[in-house]
Symmetry: C2
Subunit: 409 residues, 2 copies
C-alpha cells in the first residue's frame, strides 16, 4: 500500500493484494462441491458481532441463499459469511432452502454462535440442490483454515469460471487510526451463463451503525456494481455484503470520516466492478459509457444502460467501429426525452457527432484508432441538463456466442 | 389464392404472391441510389384520395421521412407512398428534411397531386443526406412503371440486405365483394445494423374511415410487428402504413366485416413479421415465446419481451440447449411480480420446469431435440392470471457478431 491521506477521498489507494482487516478472519478450501477439486467453500468470521449491510438481486427468481441472507441481514448485525461456488442452489424449492439452513447451522454450531448470525451466499449451476452434507463435512477444516491472512484463499474459493481472483483494498484515516477496506468479488455475465451470480464481500475495521452502513453501501453500489453490464441479464444469486468491525474506530453519519469511508467503498467496489467487466470471456475492450446533459441522473442512467447493453453497439465495439448511428439509435430508444439535434458523441477526445449529425469520415477514422485500446470512454451529451451517469460495458465478440451457446452441451 | 369464406377470420389465406389490389398501382425501379445498381426506388399510387393510417418508430431519433410522413398521415387521407432503399436519411438535419420534401414534391407534381398527399419512407445507411436529385431524375421512369401488377417490383426495391422479398396477401368477403389485403415489408435488426429500419406497407380495396383504419392497424401491429425481436434495438426509420381504397366496399366500426378485416390485417402483418425474423442473418431458428398466467397482458408482454431479447436465452437457442435457468432468470428481471415457485416452462409439448424446479435431465434431453427444428414454441406459465402475450425471436449465432462487428469495416 502506498500513502494514505487524512481527508480527501481522492487519496485512497486501490491494490489487488488482500490486506488483513483487524477483527476478521477468512478461509477458502476445497470441500468437494466442484467435480474438478478446485477451491469451492469460503468463510469470513468476525471476532464479535459486527454491523452488516447487504444488497441483493432484484430478480423475482431468488436462490435459497439470497432469501436466507436477506432475512438475516435485516438484523443489522452478523458474525460470519459462508460462501460456496460450484452450486447456486437456485430453483431448488424447499429442499434448497433446507440445505442452505443446514450448512449455516453446522458452521454456526462449530463456531459457537447463532445460525442467524451466519449469512449464506452461493454461486454456480442453477437447478441443483446444494450438497449440504459435503459442506458440513468440510466445515471443521474450513474453520481450522481461518486466518487474518486468508483473503487470497477466500477470493479463489468463490470463483467459478473467473480467469483471476478479484480483490481490491483501500486504507483511510479515522482520527489517528488507519482503517482498511477489503473487497473480494467474483465475475459474472457473459463468462458465466448459468452462473451469472455476482457476489461481492467487503469487510472493514472502520465501524458504523447498521443504518449508516446501509446508506454507504447503497451509495457505493449505484455507480459501481449497478453500473456494469456484460449482457444485461441479472441473476438469481447476486449478493453484496458489507461488514464493519469498528476495531479502528467508528464513523458517524455526516462526518468527514463517513465521507472518506464512502469514497473508499466506492473505489473498492468500482475496482472490483471493472475487474468483472474485464474478465468477460471473449471481451477485448472495457468501454466507459458516459451520458450527460439530461434533466436528471435517472434519465442519464437509463440512456447509459441502454447503450451499454445494446448488442449492436457492443458488436461494433468488437469490430473497433466508431458506429455512432448505433449509439444514437440506442440512446433514442431508452424512453428518455431529448432533442436529437443537440446530440454530441465523443470517443476519447474525438468528437464524431455534433448537432445530431456526423462530423465526418476523418473523425470516425481517428475514433476507430482509439477503439483499439483496452479501455476507453464514450461520452454522449444530449443537452444542457445537469443529469449525468456512466456505465461500464465490454465488447461482444464471437467467443461470447461460442461460450454461451455451448455452455451446457 | 385458395378459398375464402364469408365471415370467419380463420378462413383467411396468406400467400407470398402479390395480388393486384383494385384502386392501387405500384412500381419499383433502379434509380441509382444504391451503388450496386439494384432496385432502390418504389411507389404506391391510389387512383383517388384514400383513407390512411400509420405507425412510426418510437425512437427519439427519427429520420426526416418519418417526421414528414407522420405529419402528413394525420390528415387521414393520402394518394401515394414514395419509398427508397439505400439511404435512411436519418441524422441529416435540415438538409435531410429538405431532401425528403423535394422528392415528394417532384413526384406529386408529375402525378398532378398535392405533395402533402405523398407519404415518404426511407431505409438504408444512417447519416448521409438523401440524394434528392437522383430520385427526382428517376421519378418519370418510376411513374411510367406503375402497374396494378407492380407489387413484386415494389417489394424488391425496398430491400436492403434482405435475403428475399417479403409479401403476404389475404382475401376477405365484404357483402358480395371479395376484398384483397396486400402487405409488403422489409427485414431489419441483426442483418441490418445501420439499416435497422423496418418498413411495412399494406393496401386494401376494403374501405374504412381513417379513424377505424387507425384502430385496426394499431390492433394488428401489437401482436405482430410490435412482437418480434431480433436484437431489441429499434430504429430511426420504422414505419408501417395502411391505405384503404374502398373499391370493394366499406366496412363500418363494430361490424362483422370490420372484425374480418382486422383478422386479415393481423394475419398479413403476422406473416410479414415472421418472415423478417426468419431472415435474420446467422439465425437458424424462429422461436415463439408465449407467456401466460400473469395478471394482465401488459405484464405478460414485458416478460415475453425480456425473454425474447435476452442474449443468454438467444445464444442457448443457437446451441439447441433447453437452458430453462436462463429463461426463468430473464422472466425474473422483467419488472413483473410473479411467484417463481409456480413457474412452468414447456418447449413444444415437453415440460421442463414445473413448480419453479427442473423436471429432470430426460425431459431436457427431449426438449433439446425439439430445439433442432426451424420453428418451435416456448411456453412460460407464471401463475393463474388471464394475462398472456407472445413474441417472435430468433437464435443468436456467431454470424450475428461477424456481420455486425464488421459491417462498416
Amino acid at each position: 500500500m502506498a500513502t494514505t491521506r487524512r481527508t480527501a477521498p481522492i487519496s485512497i489507494d486501490v491494490t489487488d493484494r488482500p490486506l488483513p482487516v483487524p477483527g476478521f478472519r477468512l478461509a477458502g478450501i476445497s470441500a468437494g462441491i466442484k467435480a474438478n477439486g478446485r477451491p469451492d467453500l469460503a468463510l469470513i468470521v468476525a471476532d464479535e458481532p459486527v454491523s452488516v449491510a447487504g444488497v441483493f438481486t432484484k430478480n423475482r427468481v431468488q436462490a435459497a441463499p439470497v432469501r436466507v441472507a436477506k432475512e438475516r441481514a435485516k438484523a443489522g448485525k452478523a458474525r460470519a459469511v459462508l460462501v460456496n461456488s460450484g452450486n447456486a442452489n437456485a430453483c431448488t424449492g424447499k429442499a434448497g432452502l433446507d440445505a442452505t439452513k443446514r450448512t449455516t447451522e453446522a458452521v454456526a454450531e462449530r463456531l459457537g454462535i447463532s445460525a442467524k448470525a451466519v449469512l449464506p451466499a452461493s454461486t454456480g449451476v442453477i437447478g441443483a440442490v446444494l450438497p449440504a452434507e459435503t459442506i458440513v463435512r468440510g466445515s471443521d477444516r474450513l474453520i481450522e483454515a481461518l486466518s487474518s491472512e486468508g483473503g487470497a484463499d477466500f477470493a479463489r474459493a468463490i470463483m467459478t469460471t473467473d480467469q483471476w481472483p478479484k480483490v481490491a483494498c483501500a486504507q483511510i484515516r479515522i482520527g489517528r487510526e488507519t482503517a482498511t477496506v477489503l473487497g473480494i468479488a467474483k465475475g459474472a455475465g457473459m463468462i458465466h451463463p448459468d452462473m451469472a451470480t455476482t457476489l461481492g464481500f467487503v469487510i472493514t475495521d472502520a465501524g458504523a451503525s447498521p443504518a449508516l452502513l446501509r446508506k454507504l453501501l447503497k451509495a457505493a453500489i449505484d455507480p459501481t456494481f449497478n453500473a456494469v453490464s456484460v449482457d444485461g441479464d441479472t441473476s438469481t444469486n447476486d449478493t453484496v455484503l458489507l461488514m464493519a468491525s469498528g476495531k479502528a474506530g467508528t464513523v458517524r453519519a455526516g462526518s468527514k470520516e463517513a465521507a472518506t469511508l464512502q469514497a473508499a467503498l466506492t473505489e473498492v467496489l468500482g475496482a472490483l466492478a471493472k475487474s468483472i467487466v474485464r474478465d468477460g470471456e471473449g471481451a477485448r475492450h472495457v468501454a466507459r459509457i458516459e451520458v450527460e446533459g439530461l434533466a436528471n441522473d435517472r434519465a442519464a442512467r437509463a440512456v447509459a444502460r441502454t447503450i451499454a447493453t445494446s448488442p449492436l453497439v457492443k458488436t461494433a465495439l468488437h469490430g473497433r467501429d466508431a458506429n455512432w448511428g448505433r449509439i444514437l439509435a440506442a440512446a433514442g430508444r431508452a424512453g428518455v426525452v431529448f432533442d436529437p439535434d443537440r446530440a454530441e458523441i465523443r470517443i476519447g477526445d474525438e468528437t464524431i457527432v455534433r448537432g445530431g449529425m456526423p462530423v465526418g469520415k476523418d473523425a470516425e477514422a481517428r475514433a476507430a484508432t482509439i477503439l483499439q485500446a483496452a479501455e476507453y470512454t464514450i461520452r454522449v451529451t444530449l443537452g444542457k441538463g445537469r443529469g449525468r451517469a456512466h456505465y461500464l460495458t465490454c465488447d461482444l465478440g464471437p467467443d461470447y456466442v461460442a461460450v454461451n451457446a455451448n455452455y451446457r452441451s
